[in-house]
């Protein structure tokens, strides 16, 4: 067994024992803020789960996403994503780490000067997928999100819902193990929001672990999925088919 294979086996074993996402007593203090953004959080998310992370503004949801993306490191405790301790990742290893982690944001974060196809293809270009394969993968994923006919369209000319679908297609085209969605319906009308949630559920059914950060009780309560509620940086409840009452 090569060293690479040994490391993969160790990671797989870790995921088996601790989940695909594992936060071990994690706290995060921003120096400029008094109270910790995340406080003594321990959380395990297993492979293939669909989890809502809910909470009011300032509850620590966004910090949690930043910790998972290895945008920041915890002040104390460890964050394990796909068996990798984010603290032990070197700067040069972060890009490869993020390629297995699809991410969707509330404000879509698309490359505005490129068309739909190029936005999705970009995720494939960075991992140097051969052009022929790219020409197969991109239309296929665009078709899955319902944008097959709009691959040439400039993303600025798309509606909010369509832009979020492009972001979703980009996040999924490299077949990530985990999909992080930070308020994916925050800028969408109810119809588009449901469409996006249906897509996320479909992706989850295909085996991808989906973590959705939201503060929309309507969506959370009707999806009947695991709900992790946060308040002032702490996890206050963690229930299968949980409910969420927005206090904002």
């Amino acid at each position: 067994m090569t060293n690479k294979e040994k490391r993969k086996a160790a990671r797989d074993q870790f995921i088996e024992e601790n989940g695909i996402i594992f936060l071990d007593n994690v706290s995060m203090n921003y120096p400029e803020k008094g109270n910790p953004a995340v406080k003594n959080v321990t959380l395990r998310i297993d492979k293939g789960e669909f989890v809502f992370i809910v909470g009011d503004s300032g509850s620590g949801k966004s910090t949690l996403i930043k910790l998972l993306l290895r945008e920041i490191l915890p002040t104390s405790g460890d964050v394990f994503v796909m068996g990798q301790n984010t603290r032990k990742l070197r700067h040069s290893q972060i890009p490869k780490f993020r390629r297995n982690l699809g991410v969707v944001f509330q404000d879509f974060r698309l490359l505005k000067d490129r068309n739909v196809y190029e936005n999705v293809a970009f995720a494939q270009r960075i991992i140097e997928v051969p052009s022929r394969e790219m020409r197969r993968n991109v239309p296929s994923i665009l078709s899955m999100v319902g944008l097959a006919g709009k691959y040439k369209a400039n993303v600025r000319k798309l509606s909010g819902g369509e832009q979020q679908r492009v972001a979703l297609a980009r996040a999924l085209v490299n077949k990530p193990s985990v999909l992080l969605a930070d308020e994916p319906t925050g800028n969408l009308d109810p119809n588009n929001s449901w469409d996006i949630m249906d897509l996320l559920a479909e992706i989850n059914e295909q085996g991808t672990t989906v973590i959705v950060v939201t503060h929309s009780p309507t969506i959370v309560n009707s999806m009947k999925k695991r709900v992790v509620a946060m308040k002032l940086g702490e996890i206050i409840s963690d229930e299968q088919e949980g409910e969420y009452i927005n206090e904002d």
Binding site: P95, R99, E128
Partner: protein, 299 residues
């Protein structure tokens, strides 16, 4: 990096240039204006130094010998002079040659009448040309210690004036070139910085998707290099035609001036100006974009 990735990066760099047309134009204009000023100043200073050098080349020290010094000793002394670090060239003038040159100009074609012997006998000398006029004092000091030497003729005023002027030119031009360089570097890097900072969001998105620093940076760096290159070529072309035009005008309209002064050719100026300008512009484009992008890569 695979070839298709390199080509993609190159294409993105070119595309960015056109996409951010105003930024490209502003950067090219800034680089062009700075390098044009630098190039013009360099051309003027180089010519001033060249003229000064030509004048200096004509300045010489004349060495006369004692009567008892033999021809063999004079030859040996000539060889010794040529070994001196201050000496560029040595020309021997025999007393016959001097009389044959000056006799006719003072006494007419029959200058030998009334002079049964050469009146300048024993006046043979070495005309010593210096490597730099500032070395004159050093050489004269050495010559005056030699027992063979009877007299050393030189102009202290000419040497000190030329030397002082040369030194002043070096300091002043050096200072101005340094200031122009500093201003150019500041303006160019600032333009590059502003241009990239408006695209910081784009860099952030690429990083979130998992692009490596190299993949994100390469199009920006290539764009910076291309902008630098265009920004250097335009002022160089302008200076080329302008310099040629001014040189032609000076030599045709002011013939007297051109017979007194010698100017550097365009080729001589461009031997230094092309690598300097291109190196500076491309270097600034590269470093400016490389350093600025780095700031936004920490996502």
């Amino acid at each position: 990096m695979k070839i298709r990735t390199f080509l993609y990066t190159l294409w993105q760099g070119i595309r960015n240039m056109f996409k951010n047309g105003w930024y490209t134009l502003a950067s090219v204009a800034t680089i062009g204006a700075c390098l044009f000023l630098l190039g013009m100043f360099y051309s003027i200073v180089s010519n001033a130094q060249h003229i000064l050098y030509t004048v200096e080349e004509g300045v010489s020290v004349t060495v006369f010998f004692n009567e008892d010094v033999t021809d063999a000793q004079i030859d040996a002394f000539g060889q010794e002079l040529l070994q001196r670090p201050e000496v560029r060239d040595v020309v021997f003038h025999s007393d016959e040659e001097i009389w044959a040159t000056f006799g006719p100009s003072y006494f007419g074609p029959d200058y030998q009448e009334g002079f049964p012997e050469n009146p300048l006998k024993g006046e043979h000398n070495y005309e010593v040309f210096l490597r730099a006029v500032s070395l004159q004092d050093q050489l004269v000091g050495w010559l005056q210690t030699k027992p063979e030497v009877r007299l050393v003729r030189y102009s202290e005023v000419t040497a000190s004036t030329l030397s002082g002027f040369n030194l002043m030119l070096v300091y002043v031009s050096g200072a101005i070139i340094l200031i122009l360089l500093a201003v150019s570097i500041f303006l160019i890097s600032n333009t590059v910085r502003v241009g990239i900072s408006v695209r910081s969001e784009e860099i952030g998105i690429m990083k979130y998707i998992g692009a490596t620093d190299f993949f994100v940076r390469a199009p920006f760096v290539l764009e910076g290099i291309m902008i630098g290159l265009i920004g250097a070529v335009i002022p160089l072309a302008l200076i080329y035609y302008l310099y040629d035009y001014v040189l032609n005008m000076l030599t045709t309209r002011f013939e007297m001036l051109s017979s007194m002064l010698s100017f550097l050719t365009v080729a001589e100026i461009f031997n230094v100006l092309v690598p300097l300008s291109v190196g500076m512009a491309v270097g600034m484009g590269f470093l400016g974009s490389f350093i600025t992008v780095r700031k936004y890569l920490k996502v």
